[in-house]
Symmetry: C2
Subunit: 369 residues, 2 copies
């Protein structure tokens, strides 16, 4: 049985399909735009597992189905790798109707989306996310892009896919560390929007960690529903959409400060959510019990609850420096996504002294989960 | 007296201002978006002439006005140069409100626009075109981008500026060859849309070539009006907008085949319009007198009326190979912008044999103007 979640964005609306076995079925792609060729973009980890199945499923729809394989990992989310997609398109004689299929995790999806947004100023693309993180977050909502050496996702476009295909069977080949990283983006939807979902996650965390399909199907669907609701109200992040970045301001600083790829994105978000919750508490927005509860859930998902030490001399200073480059910053002031009472997020600034206190606490001590 | 042409695109509408002395006046920029900083992007030819004036005019509006200077020329319209804009933005601590000002010709405008479209997934930008070509064509309508080694403008975005400032005084420093190149894009508006404008151009060509401001003001305004009309009906080139590429299919092949920067874009368009007119005649769409008339006007503008030899063995084959990479091509078939009776353009395919005949004629013979 296939679950469908609709992203409602006027003439840029599209469905998210959620079920087992989807990517290998030709029917899944029956309503994709027609073209004389399709290009599958994948990486050297995922392509050997699923590219042949996807090629076979697309063959009835496109006279020519080509494949380009990128190196795996956040460290390759840059122009050099992106150029590999453009080169493949040019060498295959692609045109304005050529459809790109992103087969992989968030890095593949973000780069394929930006390539689709930019090639000939825009060709259609489809997301086929193969990690939990990309199914519940990055493949939905149209944020695409690459990293700048000084900041994550600094260069990109808002560009919506035609379709998102979440095949739950891809979790069978997902390493435990990646499953945990994906759970960080699932967990975030509770504190920012739906405490009943947080209750459910607390009850079902053992099943999720064990790879139970029924539990994972619900986690993916509910995450996509909440994201769809937020994105349909604020596609280009004028305001509301920023709440989806709960945990990301601290998390991005960890990722950038450690060097992309050392911490997984979801790991940074895990620790970052705990830090953002601590900051929320210090601003009087939530109580200590809420912070303890969130920290425990993050830990049970197999995620770090402490930040990395980025600088042995002035760790907090290094965090602040990196966070000032965050895209939410305005005129040098860092804007944090904080929890304004359980189930509700707010975007606001915070005094540097308080932020330093949180960083010192969350990075130095062995925090009890 | 300032002429104003409006580009009507709903919430992406903006004015084009046309007059002498505009870029040095603070008033010109009074309605630009507010921000804590602005970044002027220029090149090493234009910056020494006008950057200080523009900086002074922007100073009352922005606490900080920075400048980044790119190397001049089509050969630098690539990712490496674009990266220089992103680096400047990151090093200056730019945020989502930072406004980019493109000060230069089409290359600077296209790259600055793509940088603005992509930086943090979109920041505002203003076009201050300093060449005739960019004032009448490239700065208007929101096409931005960079070249791929295998094709011109293959990577980019549709992204509209907030304002276009056409300062006629910049023509005082424009080399004669660049003025002629700009006239190619002025001339094209006659055959595709307005034969009365073609009559006017035939009468005023001596004044235009001599740099007469009154004549140039009219040429800029009428060109912008026609372009505004076409773009407002078809922003993303679903169909109609392609007629603005009259002469560009052959022209782009010449530019790419010779190596970017050897022929100016306008020179390629000049010869390309003659070749497209010859093809139109062979398809029975216009008579020989029209082709002669257009060729004569192109020649009087100081532009080439013959194509370059791109391959001594198989020149027509090389043209066809390059033209198949054109963005208008579909499933490998080249789609030409042709003249379907004076003042009306049409986009259609043509038999290879006929295209080869035109290339052989237009590149081999010394055609009489």
């Amino acid at each position: 049985m296939t679950d469908t979640v609709h992203i409602d964005l006027g003439d840029r609306s599209y469905p998210i399909l959620i079920a087992s076995g989807l990517l290998a079925q030709a029917d899944t792609f029956a309503h994709c735009p027609k073209a004389s060729q399709a290009l599958i973009v994948s990486n050297d980890t995922v392509a050997p597992l699923y590219a042949r199945q996807l090629q076979a499923a697309l063959a009835p729809h496109y006279p020519k189905v080509e494949l380009v394989v990128l190196p795996d990992g956040e460290a390759h989310k840059n122009w050099t790798t992106l150029q590999g997609i453009f080169d493949a398109l040019m060498h295959n004689g692609a045109d304005r109707k050529t459809v790109l299929f992103a087969l992989g995790g968030g890095v593949v999806g973000d780069m394929t989306g930006f390539a689709a947004a930019s090639f000939m100023r825009g060709v259609p693309f489809v997301q086929v996310p193969t990690t939990l993180l990309s199914q519940v977050d990055s493949s939905v909502g149209g944020k695409t892009g690459i990293n700048h050496p000084l900041g994550k996702n600094m260069i990109g476009a808002f560009y919506q896919p035609q379709l998102v295909v979440c095949d739950l069977d891809t979790f069978d080949t997902l390493p435990a560390r990646e499953l945990s990283a994906g759970l960080a983006e699932v967990i975030k939807y509770g504190p920012i929007a739906d405490m009943a979902f947080m209750d459910w996650l607390e009850a079902e965390m053992p099943a999720l960690i064990a790879g139970d399909k029924r539990a994972l199907a619900h986690a993916v669907r509910r995450s996509c529903e909440i994201k769809a609701d937020v994105v349909s109200k604020d596609e280009r992040e004028a305001d509301l959409r920023a709440i989806l970045n709960f945990g990301h301001t601290f998390g991005h600083a960890i990722e950038a400060g450690m060097g992309y790829g050392v911490w997984l994105h979801g790991e940074g978000v895990g620790a970052g959510m705990v830090m953002a919750a601590e900051l929320s508490q210090r601003l009087g927005l939530v109580d200590a019990a809420f912070v303890r509860r969130l920290r425990a859930l993050v830990a049970r998902a197999g995620l770090p609850v402490r930040g990395a030490i980025l600088d042995s001399q002035d760790n907090a200073g290094r965090y602040l420096e990196l966070m000032r480059h965050d895209k939410k910053s305005q005129a040098g002031a860092i804007r944090f996504v904080l929890i304004d009472g359980p189930g509700k997020a707010v975007v606001r600034e915070a005094p540097d002294a308080l932020v330093r206190e949180v960083i010192d606490l969350c990075c130095a001590e062995a925090v009890q989960a």
